[in-house]
Structure formats: C-alpha cells, structure tokens
Symmetry: C2
Subunit: 493 residues, 2 copies
C-alpha cells in the first residue's frame, strides 16, 4: 500500500514535468520564432500550463503520498530517498505560501518589471523605488512563511542553491573578493587595447565555427539545435531536446563563439542527466550554482585559453579569414582583456565576480533589514567605488542595470559566483584524477573531461545537495581558492 505512495509521487512528478516541458517548447518558440501579434495569447497559454502544473503538485493527495512515502524508510542516500527529500522541499515551498500572497507577489512582480523597464530607460531609481520596496517586503513575508534558522536570506537562496545558507556562503565569497581585488591590482596594466580583436567576421562563418566547436565539446545536435535570439539561453524541452541560442555581432566573433561555448556547457549538463529519470528529481539538475559551473567551465577553462587557440586557430581562419591577422597568442590575450567597468554582463572574467559580490552584499542587507530600499543607490555607488575605483555615472549604469530584483529573484546572484568557483574546483579535480588530462585537452580530445563530468556531476541529477555533490566530485564543498589559483595562473603568468 505505502510503496504505492512512492509510485504515485513518481507518476505525478512526471506529469508535472511533462506539462513544464510543454511550456518550455512554447517559451522557446516565444523567444525564437513567434510572430509579434501572437505574444499575448502565448502568455495565456503559458500561465494556463503553469497553473495546471502548480495545482497538480500542490493537491492535498500529494501531501498524503509524501507523508506515506516518508514512512517507507528509504535510505536518505538512495535514489528514492533523494526524490522524496526533493519533493518534500518543493511541496512545502509551494504550499506554505497562501494563494493570496502568491497572487499579490505575481501582480507586484509584473508591475515592478514594467516600472523597472521605464525606470532604467530614464535612469531614475525614484520611479522603481516603491515597487522594489514592495517586492522586498513581500519577499521577507515569504521567507518568514518558508522558515529559516538564521537569516531570511537562507529561505530565499534555497530556491536556487538548495541546502546552502548565508553563513556558509559569505566567508567563501569574501575570500574570493579579497583575492580578486589583489589580483586586479596586479594585472591592471597588462590589458590589451580596447577593440583589439574587432574585425570583419561574417555571420555564416561564425555559425559554422560555433557549430564545429559545440560538436567538438560533445554537444549532440540530434538532441538539440542552435537558434538566434537577442538574449542567449539554453533550455530543455524534454529528455532529448536541449536547445541553445546565441547572438551575432559581425564585428566581434567572440560574442557568438563564447556565447555558444557557455550555453553548450549548460546543454551538455542537461544531455548528461539520466533520461530514464526525466521528470524525477534525480533526473533534474542539482542547482543553479552547479549548472553555471558547467557553462563557465567550457567557456572559460576550456575555450578562453591559449591552448584552445593553438589547436583551433587554423580552423577558425578557414571560417573567419579576418582572424588570420592574429596569432593564437594574440587571440588568447585579446580574449583575456581585463578592465573594471560598470555593466555586469559585459565584465571580464576577473572583475565579473566583484559585480556579483556587490549585489550579494546589498540584497543580503535588504532582506535582513539592515539596508533601506531608499538608501540602495547610495550604498551601491559607494561600494562600487570601493571595489572598482569607478564613480557610477547614473542609476542605469548602477543599481538599475539588472532585471533580477524586479522579477522578485532575491538570492539568485550568488549562484553565478558559486558557478565560477565550482568550475575551477571541478577542473582542478578532473586534472588530478584523469590521466593525461592536459594532453587530451591540448589535442582537442574533450571526451575524457566530459566523461569525468558525466560520471561525477551530470548523472547524479539532484541526488545529492550541491555541497555534497561537490564533496563527492572534488573532496570538499565549494572553495574560493581554486578559482583564485586559476585566475592568478591565467592572468599573471
């Protein structure tokens, strides 16, 4: 009787997954090919599907099955135990918030996003301020309902990085900050000129080269495709359908190439999940911080290297003849240009995490009530000057640049830096454990790296919490020092 409860949960979980995968197809089309007038009805279709999926998973019968399944005595380390743990987390999070608050939050988000767009266009925080105030207030209500031990922030980050707390993540990020600032001081003058790599790079050549690289990394085009969008992304439309998108700039080949490498990293993770477990937690990605580690790993550790260009220079020149002006070493240095700047999404590898750390500090203070929304721009600008030595010229280049807070996603930002730290730590572990690792990479044989990632990260899905997954793969939970070593070696040697 009671193992029926577990099977019922599996069935329901797969049904919810199917509905969300249907929504993923509609969202992909919305971003790629939809005609403009069809957008409003598409929004209706998507909210219908999401409401159905939500309702299916929050029915009281699901709660009953969960209670029964928890009595079955599955080993917490088993697949069944992990599935039950993850269903419990999702169920509690989905049901602890009263419908009225869910609706108020959704309404607030929608209005806040519109306000943010206008506010950013006018570079005027004042207009966005009351909306962000409301979002912070409602977010704190949600955190209280979800519950936490120390900081309301813990209840928020749980959505993106299960099992981690502000107290755990803070020292790691602070260590990274100190080391990055030190490194930045040491390398600032080595920078190559702005626009050093700019040239004439026909889109078709970029497309073909990017496809060849994605294939070389191990991306399976029979289970995916690359399309063009304004904002690149990777998405999973089902167990064998991991699509990526990119954008093209005919003067800057690196926009599409490194964009594709990044999204390929995400897609390789999804292609490495167990298809038989699709729809169950153990068939799903572990966390955003683990997901981001895969994209950064392929983009930066594999692709943004001298080794990569020594190997691929000739091929790249066939597709993009204007690259023949550069030696592999020129290309590698051009792609390692470091310079403090205002906008996160345009930042280089070294300063990127400083942008994240700024946001983490501020959103933590907002959520914990130590910072008022009205004081946010001033706090942003002061801290920005401390970290980057630059004076923020206006709110559009400062506190208004990111969409995340307007969407109500507080607690999301640290996962970007966790991804970077995890990437370096995983690469260091792979190097130690895979024999001939560097030689294989130098020869463009990426299979041993992918195989190691598949075995140590991908195949487990959500079986382990992110910290445990990292411990199993690398011997310790997420640390800053691997990334620091990686950057120092790459940017100082």
């Amino acid at each position: 009787m009671s193992s029926t409860a577990y099977l019922k949960l599996c069935e329901r979980s797969r049904e919810v997954y199917l509905l969300r995968s249907v929504a993923a197809v509609l969202s992909w089309d919305l971003e790629t090919y939809i005609p403009s007038k069809a957008v409003p009805f598409r929004a209706d279709q998507l909210s219908y599907l999401e409401a159905k999926a939500h309702a299916l998973f929050t029915e009281s019968s699901v709660g009953d099955w969960l209670q029964a399944a928890e009595q079955l005595g599955f080993d917490p380390g088993s697949e069944e135990g992990a599935n039950i743990r993850e269903w419990r987390r999702s169920y509690d999070r989905a049901t602890k918030i009263p419908i009225a608050l869910v609706e108020e939050f959704e309404k607030t988000r929608t209005i806040a996003r519109e306000a943010w767009v206008q506010s950013r266009a006018e570079s005027n925080f004042a207009f966005f301020k009351p909306h962000l105030g409301k979002i912070v207030e409602l977010t704190r209500q949600k955190a209280d309902l979800w519950g936490y031990q120390e900081s309301p922030y813990d209840a928020l980050i749980e959505d993106y990085e299960p099992g981690i707390t502000a107290r755990q993540v803070k020292p790691v990020l602070e260590e990274a900050r100190g080391a990055l600032l030190k490194l930045l001081g040491e390398i600032r003058n080595k920078s190559v000129p702005e626009k050093f790599l700019d040239g004439h790079y026909p889109i078709e050549g970029q497309q073909l080269f990017a496809r060849e690289i994605a294939t070389a990394f191990g991306y399976d085009f029979a289970a995916g495709r690359i399309d063009t969008t304004t904002h690149p992304f990777a998405t999973s439309l089902g167990p064998f359908d991991q699509r990526i998108t990119t954008r093209f700039d005919s003067k800057r080949f690196e926009v599409s190439l490194y964009g594709v490498m990044h999204e390929t990293g995400h897609a390789l993770y999804e292609q490495g999940l167990c298809p038989d477990r699709a729809g169950l937690p153990c068939g799903d990605a572990a966390s955003l911080g683990i997901h981001e580690s895969q994209s950064r790993l392929w983009e930066n550790h594999v692709g943004r290297t001298l080794q990569f260009w020594q190997l691929w220079h000739a091929t790249a020149c066939r597709y993009l003849p204007d690259l023949a002006r550069f030696s592999p070493a020129d290309l590698a240095s051009g792609l390692r240009r470091v310079t403090p700047s205002f906008i996160r999404v345009e930042a280089d590898e070294v300063t990127y995490d400083l942008h994240i750390l700024l946001r983490f500090e501020l959103e933590l203070a907002l959520v914990e009530g130590r910072l008022k929304v009205e004081d946010l721009p001033e706090a942003w600008n002061a801290r920005f000057y401390e970290l980057f030595g630059l004076v923020v010229p206006d709110d559009a280049h400062g506190v208004l640049q990111d969409i995340h807070w307007s969407l109500g996603s507080l607690g999301y930002f640290p996962t970007y830096t966790l991804g970077n730290l995890n990437a370096a730590q995983l690469m260091a572990a792979a190097e130690k454990k895979v024999s001939g690792f560097s030689d294989e990479l130098a020869q463009g044989n990426y299979a041993p790296l992918l195989k190691w990632l598949r075995e140590n990260v991908h195949q487990h899905g959500r079986k382990y919490l992110p910290a445990e997954l990292m411990r199993r793969a690398t011997g310790e939970s997420t640390q800053a020092r691997y990334r620091v070593e990686y950057l120092r070696h790459k940017y100082l040697s």
Copy 2:
C-alpha cells in the same frame, strides 16, 4: 441559472481550444525544427494534451450544460444557437463511441500506418490488405454508433463536411466527372512540353518572391511566418498565429510559389476568423471543403493565370532572373500544362478532381459493403483506366499512393473536390457582386476580393453549415458548373 450553462460551455470550449492550440505549437515544431531524438517524447506530450482536451470536453457535466443550454431557446440562426449546435455535434460524436473502440481504432491506425509505409515501399497491396480490412470494419462500427439515415458514409463525412450526405454530394461530383472527362478530351493535345519551365531558380530568390506575393494577397506576417518542411501545410497556433510552410526545388520555382499561394489561402481564412470568438465554434473554420476553397481560390483562380504573370513578371524576374527567358504568356501556359498521370498530388488542375472522384467512388463502395477490400486494387486499376486511359503499373502508383485510408480517414477525399467547386463558385459570385472586380485583380489590388471573402465566408466561422454558408455567399449550395465553366474558359480559350 441556465444561461450559466451556456457560459460554462463557452469557458470549457475555450479551455479545450487553448489545450489544442498548445498542441498545435508542439506539432508545428515537430514538423519544422525538432531534433530527431526528441520525437518520441514529443509524441508523449501530444497524446497527453489530446487526452486532456478530449477528457475535458466529454465530461458528463458538459452533457448536462448542453441539455440546459438547449432549453434556453436561442434562435438556431443566432451565434449562441450555432455554438450550441456545434458543441452538440462534437459532444455526441466524441461520447457515442465506447472507449474500448476508440482505443482499438487508434491502435489499428498506428499499426496500419506502419504497414502502409512498408506496403507502399514494396508496392505490394497484399501486405496492407488485412490492416485496411480492419480499418474499414471498425469504421463501419463507428458509423453505426454515430448513426445515419441512408448511408454509413454520411456518418463519416460529417467529421469533415458537417451536414452533407452521400446522396447530396454524389450527383454534384458525377456532374463534375462527366464535364471534366469531356474537357480533358478536348484539350489534351494543347499541352506544353514536359519540364518546359524548368530552370535555375535560387532558393533565396524564391523565398523573397513568395513572401512578396503572400503579402500582396493580404497575409499578415505580424501574425504568421513561413518555414520550410518536406510536406507543406498551414496551421493555426492561436488567434494571431497562422503559420505556413513550403518546400523548395531549385529547378522548379512553381513548387514553392504555388505552394505558398495555396497555404496563404488557408492562412488568410484563419486570419479572417473573429479573434474574439477564438475557442468557440463561431470562431472556427466551417469545414474542410470551405477551407480548401480558400487555398484553391488564391492558388489557381488568382495565381495560376495570365493576368497574374502580366502583373508580376517583372518583379519575378528581379528575384529569379532565369524567368526572363519566358513571356508572361509562356509562364501562364507552362503552368497550365494538362496531362493524365498516376499520382494525385502531382496532378494538374483539370485531372486532379478525377483522382478524387475515383477515391470517393471506391471508399463509398467499401463503406457501404459493395466492394471488398481484397477486390480494391483491381477495382482501382479498372476505374483508373476508364477515367485516365492509363494502365496502372503497380500498387505504389495506384491504390497505395495516399496515406488517408491508413490513418482511418474515410470520407475525407470529397472535401478536396468540394473545395475546388466552392472556389470557382465563390469567385463567380465575387465577380458579380464586387464592382470593378476584374480590374482590381488585374492591377494586383487583392483587397476587394479578400474583403468580400472576409465578409461572406471568413467572419461567420461555423455559424452556418457549409451548404448554408455557400447559399448565403453565392445564392446556392455547392454546384459543379462554376468550376466547369472556369476550367473550360481557362483551358480552351
């Protein structure tokens, strides 16, 4: 209380429509861009959605609402009356067949389709025979359960052409047959040589020209798009999302151009339905025979004419310079080449309906039990010789060429010819009723024609049964003589 029932039906009808529109997005992607390994899961997604839609519309509460709504005394000629009439038809058809029979039919169809593919590849009817036998048997069971007055065929055609019967359609089709055979005898020797128009037509030029023509006809690209597929189609993904597809042959520009005109005709109909009524019968197309009239009208009456080429020749030559070898008159005659041939989908405008009439006679005899499945190939070949004067060389060029019967779609074929007849009849009516009609068309001003179609056909949706819709638009139900006159004028003058 009881007008609540009508509102409940509207709401349910819109929900079912939304689910089917979601499935339409998934089907469109399945035909256009899906990666190969994603196909099996896509099938799961689609059958889940169809099962949900079916279940929603066949719940007993729908039957209760229908009964209550029928008591409200709406005028049968009103929009409400028409919606109720159409819901009743769909509900009864969906609920009169026991689930066991539905499942058996689905299973039989799936296996029969596989068998048909193999049977056609080997050009051997014997292999397909038992499967077709089973389909005919189950189809007759379904017809008995649905009920009919005279012929079981009436219960089948109802799915595609509501309100029509075999007794009504037969004399019209027979009149067409006689007239077409006579015409064919008269024009046979006027044919232009095979491959007369073949040349070098780059795909990109074909794409641009096809887009320009679709736009000129009135197709709204902000509510649609054109993609490339092996089998061209038009599909509606929502009230403002009418997409079409086409295929390209770089030697034969007419494949894509007339394909796009045809699908544009379908899409213009859908773009002319009332978006506020989306999801209600009055917001849906009237029938397949009316739908096909719109595609044939734009493809053949507007596009396959000397007038069209006199107007568009210069533009066409800009996109496809190899067309400059031909005068407008050459092009028009090349596109009017008539010659009896074995394959329906490659047939010209004059012989096309003879292919349909052959299929109608045979499927009627099968369904009425006057012809045994084992005697079908012989009957096909004998009748084909009578109609076309050609000896069918093998089953692949004869009885096995179409997919329809293997899918269990008996009763579908006549709608192709009804579409042709309706197209000619509607054009004749428009010519009478729109002032300066021919001059406008000759100048490429297609708006008056589209406006007339919108007012007399599109905007009504399913408010009227097809025969009544034709009577209101043209003064009489579907007749053969308009098409006969059109073809005689086009092919003999």
